[in-house]
Symmetry: C2
Subunit: 253 residues, 2 copies
């Protein structure tokens, strides 16, 4: 937790404190700016967000949201990768998503978080107090629309994942997962595709065991569909085959 807020919140834009001025600069230069909800706020009002946000660093394995805890903050990821998961009392785990730079977290309805958020690697997040962000939302409807857009996107992804978990075979699940990671990496202009998560994480995301994931990875490598040059990462050798295995793009209409 860095820099607990001590800025003059009610200040006019031209009367910014030095600290706040610095934070606005940080926001302006932020890697996640163009990707995330901050994009929805005009540059000259960025101080409103800067004034209520705090940058927080989280090390690998660190949790910054815990299921059941009071939901006091929203988060925006500006560095690293995060996994979200839910647990059953006996320890069974379901990872509901992996989030990266620009992604937003904390849209809980109740006053408690319904999932845990854990850093996969070195993560930095922007933390917004729930109440304060709501105030900003009142003044910038565009921000609210952006949030709605984000929530809708997540809903679509969640429905796709339900189809995967409920109806796809193990091979189809893994192929779908690898494809989605590959597409994501392509969008970022990569060739070799990094996997920040472990086999256990992949298994808990796909509703499988690590053994099954490992076996199928080996099978796809044996069949020259993918290559596994490094421990954490892969490359797609035969995209059509992967697409075939993935169970396709939904119904042909």
């Amino acid at each position: 937790m860095l820099q607990p807020s001590s800025a003059c919140v009610g200040c006019a834009p031209d009367g910014l404190s030095p600290e706040l001025r610095q934070r606005v600069a940080a926001c302006t230069a932020c890697d996640a700016r163009v990707l995330s909800l901050c994009r929805a706020i005009p540059d000259d009002h960025l101080d409103r967000l800067a004034a209520i946000s705090v940058a927080v660093d989280v090390g690998p394995g660190g949790t910054f949201i815990e299921e059941g805890e009071p939901a006091s903050s929203f988060f925006n990821i500006t560095r690293g990768t995060v996994k979200l998961y839910k647990l059953l009392p006996d320890g069974r785990r379901q990872i509901t998503g992996f989030l990266g730079v620009g992604d937003f977290l904390g849209l809980a309805v109740s006053d408690s978080y319904v999932f845990t958020a854990e850093a996969l690697d070195a993560v930095r997040v922007c933390r917004f107090p729930r109440r304060r962000l709501n105030e900003v939302l009142d003044d910038f409807p565009a921000l609210e629309r952006k949030l709605l857009e984000i929530a809708s996107h997540e809903l679509v992804a969640a429905q796709e994942q339900m189809l995967l978990l409920g109806r796809k075979t193990a091979l189809e699940r893994l192929a779908s997962f690898l494809l989605s990671r590959a597409d994501r990496a392509d969008a970022l202009g990569r060739r070799g595709i990094p996997l920040a998560m472990t086999r256990t994480d992949i298994a808990d995301y796909l509703g499988l065991t690590i053994e099954t994931v490992s076996r199928l990875m080996s099978r796809l490598r044996r069949e020259r569909v993918i290559a596994l040059p490094e421990a954490h990462g892969f490359a797609v050798l035969d995209r059509p085959a992967l697409l075939q295995y993935s169970g396709g793009e939904g119904p042909v209409l």
Copy 2:
């Protein structure tokens, strides 16, 4: 499809056409009013919504949203029950949710729907053209906030369902499902709990086969955990047992 819109959209509230006046009255009296997003709009501006909405009746088995079709409208359910599902090319189906009176549909990000919506029984929906509703949203931020709230709720439910589909056993899935239906019915003040959906629907919702659902229903009846007085419907005899079987309420914190 009833009454294609021919109302004077720009009219002042006091200059309503007879037809629009009638629609506003229908909105005011609507069963879903208190439950749904319309609640977020003040009574004296209800004409804005009434002017752009059209009531549509859908018979059992009728689909009013189809996966892949252009997403031109939002819907609000005012009568009956609806199932949402996604299909794989070979016909495997995953039902992603059941919606009832007051529920809202059509929050698609892309310009195509990503699921199909089918009526389980006699359904009536309020249809809002996407573009027109967005205009109303601009004038009533409270509506937008309501939509965000709805989307957040659905996201929470989707995550819970991912845990169910990815990590729960067949018995746990069925018990969880029956409990959630029971809770929903209790909230509406019922004793015997109706199931508008068939065994096939339940199976496709829980990621199981109809045979497994049927066997487990029989087992729970044999164990006096539930009763099955009618074909479509059940009663909870031993709620603690059902809760036990359901895999519990998440981690004990």
